[in-house]
Symmetry: none
Amino acid sequence: MIDEDLVFKALGDSSRRFLLDLLHKRDGQTLGELEWELEMTRFGVMKHLKVLEEAGLVITRWRGREKLHFLNAVPIRLIHDRWIDKYREHEVSELANLKKSLESKKWIPARKRA
Amino acid sequence: MIDEDLVFKALGDSSRRFLLDLLHKRDGQTLGELEWELEMTRFGVMKHLKVLEEAGLVITRWRGREKLHFLNAVPIRLIHDRWIDKYREHEVSELANLKKSLESKKWIPARKRA
DNA sequence: ACTATATGTGACCATTTGGTCACATGTCAA
DNA sequence: TTGACATGTGACCAAATGGTCACATATAGT
């Protein structure tokens, strides 16, 4: 079960959003690696990672003495569905544009189609 | 333009998300009307509405002595575009990871690591 | 003009939060 | 086994936050 409040609270801090960005660039980074990118001691980074993990936005795995951190987009996806999509009807046209844009990215050129 | 940090911070509080829900149900409500729905004095509600307004999530208009509040979904849409959609491409694999994680792996407390 | 209504301001307080540190545990490699 | 390395815990502190209140301003309606 995903706690919507934990997810929103986790996303409410720019350092944590930056950590998600870092993991998005390269998944499976250790605390030591992430620590380098922030102007903060590893203890601060650790706290932020804990918040992200408890919100389900980051999943971890141990490899020996290293803790690997992986981005989990599922909670964000659920927010997208449960919260943001609530406002669809207010902006039908823009959403249509977005959809078109996304679909065109998946466009398969004629020569490669079966 | 739109301060992403203000938007995320504004969304990070459940009372404020509830206020957005109320405005989504019925747009243009006054402070007095919204106040009824929360278990909080009007001062608290006022502060939350101010945060929402400064984040651009709520737009206001005066009608005599009444202040009408309107939901503005645009900042949410921008988050949708620049933040959430970032993770679209990873969605499938992350979902797979989660599934695998839930099915086969068990969390091993640090103290008990081999 | 008078009074009830609707919202605003600044001070204030308790709690939460972001961040650091001393110290501790667990792991790798020589 | 020894020592360097990677992460964890609990206490601690300053700052931000959620919420209330006394007091103030502006508008509506009679």
